[in-house]
């Protein structure tokens, strides 16, 4: 039993997000960085560049390469994860790179790379969405020109109900998971994946719910970035 009388196991309503905390500019050595806590997820994102792409044969003379690297710490999940890239994190790295690339003005920096490192320190369902959200804040913090601040959020289906932002148990026991990344200004979809089964009607409902969730997270992203430059005490 995952949902009872419209209240989920952790006490949330179907369209409620887990608590989110975002902090921009936490790393000194990176050009831009972000620390994000989303429910039980703890994620650190760092952006380096644009910098010279090496070795030279990977350079693109027309645009910058966006190179995101999603990595899960061995201690981020209950059972120790074997460190290093695996099938799953390679895939997430690829889809994240492509989602971010579509909002960045890559043509302004030919022959360079923009490296985005997403480190999952603690995982609890929805890490790819949290990763993209954190990466977006880090990119803005690094001063990289973008069309919009991308944001991601998942929706899913548990016990026949479409809900927002699945938790760990809901992800494991539920029927479907639908991570969505958008550019909130014009609702352009940057990433859309689905695991499980949804009817066409349920899919539309879940997509709308996820976009609604994204817009809420987008507000928190903006607040976090403005906070970095606003909260400064004069002694």
């Amino acid at each position: 039993m995952l949902i009872k009388d419209g209240i989920r196991m952790d006490g949330r309503k179907p369209d409620e997000l887990r608590p989110i905390k975002i902090e921009a500019g936490v790393l000194y050595r990176a050009d831009g960085s972000c620390y994000l806590e989303w429910g039980g997820n703890k994620i650190m994102a760092a952006v380096y560049g644009p910098r010279e792409a090496l070795p030279r044969h990977i350079q693109d003379p027309t645009k910058a390469i966006v190179n995101a690297r999603y990595n899960m710490a061995s201690f981020s999940v209950e059972e120790r994860k074997r460190p290093g890239p695996d099938r799953r994190s390679t895939e997430i790295s690829k889809v994240t790179s492509e989602a971010l690339e579509s909002v960045i003005f890559t043509e302004l920096f030919p022959r360079t790379t923009i490296d985005v490192c997403i480190e999952v320190l603690d995982a609890e369902a929805g890490t790819r969405c949290a990763g993209i959200t954190a990466a977006a804040v880090a990119l803005a913090d690094a001063g990289i020109p973008m069309r919009d601040l991308p944001v991601a959020c998942a929706a899913g289906k548990i016990d026949g109900t479409v809900v927002l932002d699945l938790s760990s148990e809901e992800d494991k026991e539920g029927e479907a998971d639908l991570p969505v990344a958008i550019a909130p200004r014009n609702e352009e979809i940057l990433l859309l994946q689905m695991d499980g089964h949804l009817t066409y009607k349920e899919f539309e409902e879940a997509l709308d719910l996820a976009i609604k969730g994204c817009k809420e997270v987008a507000k928190l992203q903006r607040k976090a970035l403005l906070n970095k430059y606003k909260t400064f005490e004069v002694e």
Binding site: F105, P110, D141, L149, L225, F232
Partner: protein
Amino acid sequence: MMRKIVLPGTEVGDAKSKLPGKGVFKEGDKIYASRLGILSEKGKYINVIPLSGVYDPNVGDNVIGVIQEVFKNAWIVDINAPYPAFLNLENVPWRVEYGETSKYLKVGDVIISTIAAIDEAKNIDISMKCKACRKIEDGIIIEIQPSKVPRIIGKNGSMLATLKKYTQCWIFVGQNGRIWIKGEDEKVNLLIKAIRKIEKEAHTFGLTQRIIKMLGG
């Protein structure tokens, strides 16, 4: 005057009455910010002055570079930009014979140079034929965020004048975020602290007064 901080994708104006300048882009009838920065309007143009980001080289900038590689007819110089810069042996103030480049500048040497040309593919040519250009032999180099350079210099060089006045150090600020400092050890330490403070608090008001106070004015 209120300074407004904008984020990528923030609407900053109407394309019918205004023109997009730097750090913004036009989409449809609206102008949006493309990067994190402070909004500024100059005449018909809307600009966003970046608060962060890597050094974006412009022709005419004076930069402090480090020799990375030595060729027979040129040097490759790291100028803290996303691209390496080329210094041809014809663009130095000395008469250098072909193949004798390493007699004049070796790997790791630090120079002040000016950006002579940038082409479409962002190949950068630098030159040492300017007044301030020279090989740096003494003092120390510190690095700051390139976006904070205008604040170190201040309006018409006011901040730089303040720093020079209270520390009696020799200061040269490269547009690429490298600063050359020469002076007494104690004063240099104080100056570095002051520069770090300016870097950290670049977006706040009344900074010059606080710096003067810090330097004991």
